[in-house]
Amino acid sequence: MSRFDLREVCVRREGHLIIDRVTATIAPGRCTALVGPSGAGKTTLLRLFNRLDDPSTGTVLLDGAPLDTLDVLALRRRVGLVGQRPVLVSASVREELRVGAPHLTDDEALGLLKRVGLPAEFHERPTEGLSGGEGQRVCLARTLAVGPEVLLLDEPTSALDPEAAAAVEDTLCALLSGGLTAILVSHSAAQVQRMADDALVLRKGQLVESGPVAGVRYVNGGG
């Protein structure tokens, strides 16, 4: 399933309202984009879905259950996150793929590398010296190793050069076509059109527009 519901969600930080009473639904099996100008609260909202942060008021529900009633570690294994920049925490790709999945077999690891478009030889490579695009693919494989039902993608290609960005985006599109639920933060309307099914438009922390991408003005040049 993996349907998220946001109910009257507010996030306050040091007296400032970053997210202002957002109520929305993230449909299962679809890619929903969070879009809007810089500082609109997109990343803040994204961090609520795997409880890296909690809302100040309001509730986030996963399949009808408030997130704070679920085991947080199990939740984070169900809801994987890929950040803006590749943050590699191990010395080798072999170890990196096993950070969240210590019992991953070599066959499974090679299968993951293939899914993210990296040749098998990368399994034995050190993480130092990987290019931005390669690092981001390893991060994606590391997240997939845990077996998430939902992928949170926080501007996953914005730190890459155009060629690497296009290649990583193709890989993501192929993964999402498999029916994975995804929430994508992106500042690129073109990327949202290519990758997302639905869009939620945020402005100054408020939800100002939502619906299937084709009908959302912000994404189609009317924002």
Binding site: L52, D54, V72, L73, G83, V89, R142, V146
Partner: protein, 253 residues
Amino acid sequence: MSSPAVPEWTGVALSVSLVGLAVLIAWRQRLGLAREIVIAGVRAGVQLFLVGAVLLFLFKHAGLPGGFAWLAVMVVIAGQVAGRRGKGLRHSRYVATAAVAIAAAVTMGVLMAFGVIQTTPRVVVPVGGMVVSGSMAATGVTLSRMVAEVRGQRAAIEARLSLGLSAAAAFAPHRRELLRTALIPTLDSTKVVGLISLPGAMTGLILAGVSPEVAIRYQIVVMYMLLAAAVMAALAAAELGQRMLFTAAQQLR
């Protein structure tokens, strides 16, 4: 006349000429430090004079409870000083005070329980002072490294949390690293003791006319106890500090 190695008050007064020399050099070299040297010299003299008076009172009149009370005061002061190094960490002063207290209680407890040191104020206060001071240094470095590590490695810690690792597991590599950093100075000084420097306790005993063989025995105990105290203080500070870094929902604050 007391032991020939111990200076009379006239000797102490004459040693002020050394501060004068330092001031003169600082003034001639235009270092802008002359005033600070005078203040530091006066402060050190007054502090030591007062501490001497307090110790004299403690040893003569307050007995063992007074000695322990003085030790408790030292722990609180050390906690405040070390806690400042962890600025940015929630409740850093409480964490530091608790870490120093744990290290001091365990180290002194073991030394007294095994009869390694005498349970008298004359011994408990100075030995306890060394333990508290060593624990304070290790605690301060641990907390300052912890704050720096979280500031610099936030993304890595959150990447591990996002993979479903517990807060303790997500922070473990950073904790190892900061503990190593915090303990390296203590380990290094333990390794070279006697070779590069004659440590304070030993120097003091030899100056006071005690035979080097006795002085060495004391120094060995002191070094071992300082090593244990530093390790325990750093571990306690890391453990308690780590709890302040994360919420109950395993979120990095």
